[in-house]
C-alpha cells in the first residue's frame, strides 16, 4: 500500500526534527491526517510503528498519536465553502481512490456545489502532516 511511503516520510521528518532539537529519545509523535487523503488512522499508526522499530534507536519507543482533520474546500470563484465529505457522497469508489493517491486530483473529479467550478482551494485537511514531536 502506498501509505507506507508517507509513513516513511513522517518517520524521516521526526528523526530530522529530533536531531535538530538534540533529543536523545523521542517519546511522542503527533500526526495530523487530512480527510481529503482518505487514510485510515489506525492502519497508518500501525505502519508508523513498524517503521519506527527499524529506523533509529531514539525513535523506537515513541508513542504515535493521530488526529483526523476534516477537509474543507472553498471555491475561488463564488466563495462557497463546503466539506469534502459532502462531495465524497457523489464520487465513485474509483474516483475517491484516485484522490487518495494524489489529493490534488480532487480538482479533476469535484466541482463547487454552488457554481460548479473546479477552481477551489483546500483550506484544511489536505493530507498527512507531522504536527510535532516530544522527547528529551
Amino acid at each position: 500500500m502506498h501509505e507506507w511511503a508517507l509513513a516513511e516520510g513522517i518517520v524521516s521528518t521526526a528523526l530530522k526534527e529530533a536531531e535538530r532539537g538534540k533529543f536523545t529519545e523521542v517519546t511522542r509523535i503527533n500526526v495530523k491526517i487530512g480527510e481529503l487523503q482518505q487514510i485510515d488512522g489506525d492502519l497508518f499508526v500501525s505502519l508508523l510503528k513498524e517503521i519506527l522499530q527499524v529506523e533509529d534507536p531514539k525513535l523506537k519507543r515513541a508513542e504515535v498519536v493521530f488526529e483526523n482533520q476534516e477537509a474543507i474546500l472553498k471555491c475561488r470563484v463564488c466563495g462557497h465553502e463546503w466539506l469534502f465529505s459532502e462531495s465524497k457522497k457523489g464520487l465513485s469508489d474509483e474516483d475517491a481512490e484516485l484522490i487518495h493517491f494524489v489529493p490534488e486530483i480532487a480538482h479533476v473529479y469535484i466541482r463547487c456545489p454552488a457554481c460548479k467550478s473546479p477552481d477551489f482551494e483546500v483550506t484544511k485537511g489536505r493530507g498527512v502532516w507531522l504536527e510535532s514531536i516530544e522527547g528529551e
Binding site: G9, T13, F101, V102, E104, H107, V108, D119, W129
Partner: protein
C-alpha cells in the same frame, strides 16, 4: 511539518542522473525530445525512468502510444513499464480528464508524486518539464538538487527571449545546465548557436524539422526510425 519533503531525496538516491528537459516556451518539442531520449537510453540498455511533470498538458503518453498502463502499490507507487521505461504521469490518476490545478496545488501534486514513487535503481530519470519558469522549475531546482537541465528551443526570436530568461534563472540558482538543442530547424541560419554561445552555455546541436514525424506519434518504432534518419547534427 510536511513529511514528504524529507523522503524525496531517499526516493531518488539510486538514480545516477536526473535530466530535466525544459525550454520555457510550449510547443518546442520538449515532450518528444524527453520521450525519444528515454527510449534511446532504454534501448541502449540503460535503466530509464520518465516523469511527465506537465500536469496542465501531459503528452508523453500520447507520444509513446500508451493506454491503460497503471502504477501498482508496493510500499509506495511502482511506475508501470512503458516500452522498457518506468513511466510516471498525472494521467495515471486524471485519465483523459482535464486537470485544472493552480500553482500551489501543482507543487503539492508534484511533491506527492516524488514522495510516493519508488523508481528503484535507474541510470537516467528524464523529466518532461511544463512550459514556463514557474512553480515546477523552482520545485525541481529546490527538491531535485541533482537535476541537470537540457534546454530545447526553436530558432524563433520569441522563443529565444524566454530561453534567455530561463538560462539566466538557472545560472543564478546554480542549477546545472547540460546545454541547448535547437529543435525543428527550418533554415541554415546560425543565429541561435551564436546567441547561445555568447551566453557561455553549451550549444549541443540542431534537429531538422521532420514533416513525417507527426504520423509517427504513438508508434515508438516509427518515432525512433524517423529520428535515426535525421540524427542530431
Amino acid at each position: 511539518m510536511d513529511p514528504r519533503l524529507t523522503i524525496i531525496e531517499r526516493r531518488l538516491k539510486d538514480i545516477k542522473r536526473i535530466i530535466a528537459v525544459s525550454g520555457g516556451k510550449g510547443g518546442v518539442g520538449k515532450s518528444l525530445t524527453a520521450s525519444v531520449m528515454a527510449l534511446i537510453f532504454s534501448r541502449l540498455g540503460y535503466k530509464t525512468g520518465l516523469l511527465d511533470l506537465d500536469f496542465g498538458g501531459p503528452s508523453i503518453h500520447t507520444v509513446l502510444g500508451l493506454k491503460g498502463a497503471l502504477p501498482r502499490e508496493e510500499k509506495g507507487i511502482i511506475p508501470p513499464d512503458a516500452h522498457g521505461i518506468k513511466f510516471m504521469s498525472i494521467i495515471h490518476y486524471a485519465g483523459d480528464n482535464p486537470s485544472p490545478i493552480r500553482g500551489i496545488d501543482i507543487s503539492n501534486a508534484m511533491i506527492e508524486l516524488l514522495a510516493i514513487t519508488r523508481w528503484g535503481r535507474l541510470d537516467f530519470l528524464i523529466i518532461d518539464m511544463p512550459p514556463g519558469i514557474g512553480d515546477s522549475t523552482l520545485d525541481v531546482i529546490r527538491l531535485l538538487k541533482r537535476a541537470e537541465f537540457l534546454i530545447i528551443t526553436t530558432e524563433s526570436r520569441v522563443t529565444l527571449d524566454v530561453v534567455n530568461k530561463l538560462l539566466n534563472l538557472l545560472k543564478e540558482l546554480k542549477a546545472p545546465i547540460i546545454g541547448v538543442i535547437e529543435n525543428m530547424k527550418l533554415t541554415r541560419s546560425s543565429f541561435l548557436s551564436k546567441e547561445i554561445g555568447a551566453l557561455d552555455v553549451p550549444f549541443l546541436g540542431e534537429i531538422d524539422f521532420d514533416s513525417g514525424l507527426e504520423d509517427a506519434i504513438g508508434n515508438v518504432d516509427h518515432i525512433l526510425g524517423s529520428y535515426s534518419k535525421d540524427p542530431i547534427c
